[in-house]
């Protein structure tokens, strides 16, 4: 069963209009915050709720906000990270297109908590519908007096600026997002200083994911204790999981954290396509290690997925059935990281290309047995040696597929062809 907290109204085709959203309770939390809640108390409420970031890293949101210096003359900024581009992930899009006012209201609440008066909404350039709907939602919120100067007589001012990215996965990484927002190439920056202290235009900046922000109106209206009652001991609330690949009913499913992976894949998602045996699952987006079928009873919360040997990441569950060549899977992912490496750190810039070339060679039937260890060696030299997590992410699929399916690599090299060949072709109808 889904627990529809954030996605409750996304099925309503008019939910993106401000009138319908208000009928469904939008901006009540914002009015409550302005009237009744001091910023410091708001931060405490979010800390008490246990909300953790939904972008991938799972950092506690209230704690992140708490890092913004109080005694500073510099302006503070909030950035909503809508640069959703982790392969397998399309859950933020559900909210941007289906309930944009929830995201706008979340941005308002977060801005107020950190005393920000100019917030930026950074959306990946390709998300056209999301950009149009969010821009309209923001314009309509101004017209209703929920944004602008002296909002609803509170004395609080807030502007939100929509900023379209230019097509670059790296800009989902928070420091690269800031570089991009400053008009630069999207290069990651060394931390510290952390953005909360020195971010956009060298000012304190908080970057929060779309889904993280969309939780805030609910927490404000129903309380920290209520929210903390959802999920598990350390993973609170719900998450929207994007289930893709070889399943009968791919889709976005909002689940209470701690839901069973088996019930998601075989229940809600209808089981494996053509009833083929399961080969592997990537549980949290392409940057997370694969899980074998014996991990199907893993619970979907940060701790349980980590204990199973992977990461909950962005909540993108990619299902792979038996008739899939794992070297081919690794090659596709390696191509992606090579393409998206920003080029700032040598191990990532060079290593992602080398890994792709070797995988392509093996996949094409010209692999050498020493390639396997060369791949691991390159991955090992990238991991931990780059400024941002893209390097680690690029190493993951290589290390994980070799570790779990070394026999397939060996077969591929010995026979010059796939051990199993994906039979899946484009459907006619």
């Amino acid at each position: 069963m889904e627990t529809k907290l954030l996605s409750q109204f996304v099925g309503d085709p008019q939910q993106h209009s401000i009138e319908r959203a208000i009928e469904h309770g939008a901006y009540q939390a914002w009015q409550k915050v302005l009237k009744e809640i001091a910023p410091a108390d708001l931060i405490q409420i979010v800390k008490d709720s246990g909300l953790r970031g939904r972008g991938g890293a799972g950092f506690p949101t209230g704690m992140k906000w708490g890092f913004v210096p109080k005694e500073t003359l510099k302006p503070k900024y909030l950035c909503c990270n809508a640069d959703e581009s982790e392969p397998g992930t399309c859950k933020d899009r559900v909210l941007l297109e289906g309930d944009p006012h929830a995201v706008v209201e979340g941005m308002m609440i977060a801005s107020y908590a950190i005393d920000c008066h100019t917030a930026f909404f950074y959306i990946r350039g390709e998300y056209d519908v999301g950009q149009v709907r969010m821009s309209k939602a923001i314009d309509d919120a101004y017209a209703k007096g929920f944004l602008g100067k002296n909002i609803l007589g509170s004395g609080y001012d807030l502007d939100i600026v929509v900023h379209r990215g230019g097509g670059a996965y790296i800009c989902g990484e928070e420091t690269a997002l800031l570089s991009s927002l400053e008009g630069d190439k999207g290069l990651a920056r060394l931390k510290p200083p952390f953005p909360a202290v020195e971010g956009l235009y060298n000012c304190p900046t908080i970057i929060n994911n779309v889904e993280t922000l969309a939780n805030l109106p609910h927490i404000v209206m129903k309380g920290a204790q209520w929210f903390a009652g959802l999920g598990t001991e350390k993973s609170k609330g719900t998450r929207i999981f994007s289930v893709s690949g070889h399943v009968k009913n791919p889709g976005n499913y909002e689940l209470e954290l701690g839901y069973s992976l088996r019930d998601l894949v075989y229940g809600l998602a209808g089981g494996i396509l053509d009833d083929k045996p399961l080969k592997a699952i990537i549980p949290g987006g392409s940057s997370t290690p694969l899980l074998l079928p014996d991990k199907i009873d893993t619970k979907l919360d940060f701790e349980s997925v980590a204990a199973a040997g992977s990461m909950l990441g962005s909540g993108a569950v990619i299902v792979i059935h038996e008739e899939t060549c794992i070297v081919w899977v690794a090659e596709i992912l390696a191509h992606f990281y090579m393409h998206e490496s920003c080029g700032k750190c040598t191990p990532c810039r060079q290593g992602t290309g080398w890994m792709y070339e070797i995988l392509r060679r093996i996949e094409a039937g010209h692999g050498k047995m020493e390639d396997i260890d060369t791949l691991l060696d390159i991955a090992d030299n990238i991991e931990g040696n780059t400024i941002c997590p893209l390097g680690d992410a690029a190493a993951v699929p290589v290390i994980s597929t070799v570790k779990l399916f070394r026999d397939e690599y060996v077969y591929h090299i010995e026979h010059g062809k796939c051990k199993v060949r994906s039979q899946f072709r484009l459907r006619v109808k």
Binding site: E84, S85, E86, P87, G88, T89, C90, D92, T118, R124, G125, E126, Y127, D128, V129, D159, V161, H163, R164, G165, G166, G167, A168, S180, L181, E182, G183, D184, K185, G186, Y201, S242, V243, S244, G245, H246, P250, G251, N252, I282, S286, A316, I318, I320, T324, V329, I332, L333, H335, F336, H339, E340, C342, S422, F424, R425, L426, R427, V428, K429
Partner: protein, 158 residues
């Protein structure tokens, strides 16, 4: 002058929304791309003049991102997602099917000037794979029949 007066006005107005004018480089590139369907050094120069930044700052930013190509493309730019969720459901067949059907190579323009097919990395449409983006629009859950119909529609619209 390549950029229209209205494009330049739009760029200078956008710049006022940011604390620092450099932030308006990406929005300016979007405006130029939407007006012309490609970018050029001349456009970089005009954007730099409107914003009061250096040519190299515009050129550097533009070269980093996939959405600001300098090459001209067909009227319909078809981007087929090649990443994992789409690949698992046959996106590579979709690409070859399109190239065969349109009788064109990857990245080339068809003889009638209508189509260019390229591969793209994950476009965030994973649960509706396989998919392609044609200009700004997403077309999802693609099948051979659907692709045939879409191509016919584009051809009839010209």
């Amino acid at each position: 002058m390549i950029l229209s007066d209205s494009a330049k006005l739009q760029i200078s107005q956008t710049a006022t929304r940011y604390p620092k004018v450099r932030s308006a480089i990406l929005p300016a590139l979007h405006v130029a791309y939407e007006e012309h369907g490609y970018l050029s050094d001349q456009m970089y120069e005009e954007i730099a003049q409107v914003l009061g930044v250096k040519f190299i700052e515009v050129a550097e930013a533009a070269s980093f991102y996939t959405m600001f190509p300098k090459a001209k493309r067909g009227k319909y730019l078809i981007q087929v997602c090649r990443n994992i969720s789409c690949a698992l459901l046959g996106s590579h067949h979709l690409t070859t099917y399109l190239l065969d059907k349109l009788n064109v190579g990857l990245g080339e323009i068809t003889a009638d000037g209508l189509f260019t097919v390229v591969e793209a990395e994950c476009l965030g449409s994973c649960t509706t794979a396989p998919m392609m983006q044609v200009n700004a629009h997403y077309y999802e859950n693609l099948t051979v029949e659907k692709v045939d119909r879409l191509i016919e529609e584009f051809r009839s619209q010209k």
